[in-house]
């Protein structure tokens, strides 16, 4: 009951989704839409679970006065203040521009997010420096290809045309071939994983008691 039924649910839902793909009938379409809506509803309840998980973790840290507990307090404050101003005073309007909720989002979240994202500029340079060593033929191919592509931004005089031709060639030919092979492989692997899940062969993710 605890384990067999969930696996049956997995198989059943999997088969239904598989079959409905081929059946355009209205009844199946409606059922399909419901199923997607239900997964969203489950996601909403799960969100409560997530919030509970995050809060207990932070609260425990604060209670135990674990190192850095003060920061947990900051996170908790940010979390609950957002939830408060987002849910309590306004009706759905809190997602519109100009509310305190959106202001907080815009002036706190957006700049930090953009700053975090832009750290990648530093990291990409350091990754290139440390990792792009011509240790093997494969590594050499990788770094040469990267350099050719990067050179397209560097004024090379008459060589620019040749470089541009190379860039075009790399992007339209080997790039295409490798991506096709990659995607085909991913397609087969993903399909196999889906099949294993549906057949209940792979069930480690579903408790054992």
């Amino acid at each position: 009951m605890r384990r067999t039924l969930p696996i049956a649910v997995v198989t059943g839902m999997g088969l239904f989704m598989l079959v409905q793909y081929f059946i355009p009938l209205e009844e199946f379409e409606t059922l399909y839409e419901w199923v997607l809506d239900w997964t969203m509803v489950i996601g909403c309840f799960a969100m409560l679970l997530g919030l509970y998980s995050l809060t207990t973790m932070m609260v425990t840290k604060v209670k135990r006065k674990a190192p850095g507990w003060g920061y947990s307090l900051v996170a908790l404050a940010g979390l609950f203040f957002m939830v408060f101003v987002g849910v309590v005073p306004h009706y759905q309007d809190s997602l519109k521009y100009g509310t305190l909720f959106m202001d907080l989002f815009e002036y706190i979240y957006i700049p930090i997010q953009a700053a975090m994202f832009s750290l990648l500029a530093f990291y990409i340079a350091s990754a290139a420096y440390r990792a792009f060593r011509a240790r093997t033929i494969l590594a050499t191919i990788l770094l040469l290809s990267a350099i050719i592509i990067m050179l397209r931004l560097v004024p090379l005089g008459p060589l620019s045309g040749i470089n541009q031709w190379l860039v075009n060639f790399i992007l339209t030919v080997p790039n295409m071939a490798a991506k096709r092979a990659f995607w085909l492989g991913v397609g087969l692997g993903a399909t196999a994983t889906a099949l294993k899940i549906m057949l209940g062969i792979e069930r480690g993710y579903m408790g054992r008691d």
Binding site: P6, G68, M82, V83, A177
Partner: protein, 219 residues
């Protein structure tokens, strides 16, 4: 000082807080990080609440209830109770004794995903990719395309050989697999090289924000 200026200062200071991480972890970063995590989790919760929970569950149930009271009919919107029920099962995870019930909801989601992606991947990553690789190996009067097409077909073929798991990569087979990896490496290099520009754009954007919008040092 207007609200916008305050916002600008907060944004500027927090940006510096994040940037300080590249030197080393420090209280300033820890503060920005904690605030970031908290605010974003709160934001996501509120968005989930207004954009999914209310319209997908509550609105439908309210509609069902209204139809029931006004017209006395049982309307199809009641099926959303099932979704709500599965959601409540999720919450039972908070109680260890009945927590296993939440597996039904998890099974529902995992099963749906598996079934949905099964055909989706076969179609978009299987059939459509094969179709895209069906190229003419000889294009009359166009040497560029002829060579390009041949290389694409050969490259895709060898790339697939690389992904063979149940055959040893030896001899001619191993050689082909090696060619396949070369193709992959060229692509990875190209992707890396191409991304540099976008990442630098982000940094330039932030520098603009710091020195331009915030401090007003550059125009």
């Amino acid at each position: 000082m207007s609200g916008e200026v305050v916002g600008l200062w907060i944004g500027g200071i927090l940006t510096l807080g994040i940037f300080s991480f590249i030197y080393k972890d420090n209280p300033f970063y820890k503060f920005s990080e904690a605030l970031f995590v908290g605010v974003s989790a709160g934001y996501w919760f509120v968005v989930t609440f207004w954009q999914y929970f209310l319209p997908k569950l509550i609105d439908n149930l309210v509609l069902a209830y209204t139809v029931l009271t006004v017209e006395g009919k049982i309307d199809y919107h009641w099926v959303y109770l099932l979704g709500g029920g599965l959601g409540i099962l999720m919450l039972l995870r908070l109680f260890p004794s009945v927590g296993w019930l939440s597996r039904w909801s998890l099974a529902f989601i995992v099963g749906t995903t598996a079934g949905l992606q099964f055909t989706r991947y076969l179609e978009s990553n299987g059939i459509i990719q094969v179709k895209g690789t069906i190229l003419s190996l000889f294009v009359w009067g166009d040497l560029n395309s002829t060579i390009g097409n041949i290389v694409i077909v050969v490259g895709t073929f060898c790339g697939l050989i690389y992904f063979f798991f149940s055959k040893e990569h030896k001899g001619a087979f191993g050689g082909a697999a090696r060619v396949g990896v070369w193709f992959l490496m060229i692509t990875f290099g190209a992707l890396f090289g191409y991304t540099v520009m976008s990442r630098m754009s982000l940094l330039i954007g932030r520098m603009d924000f710091l020195f331009g919008n915030w401090l007003g040092l550059i125009k």
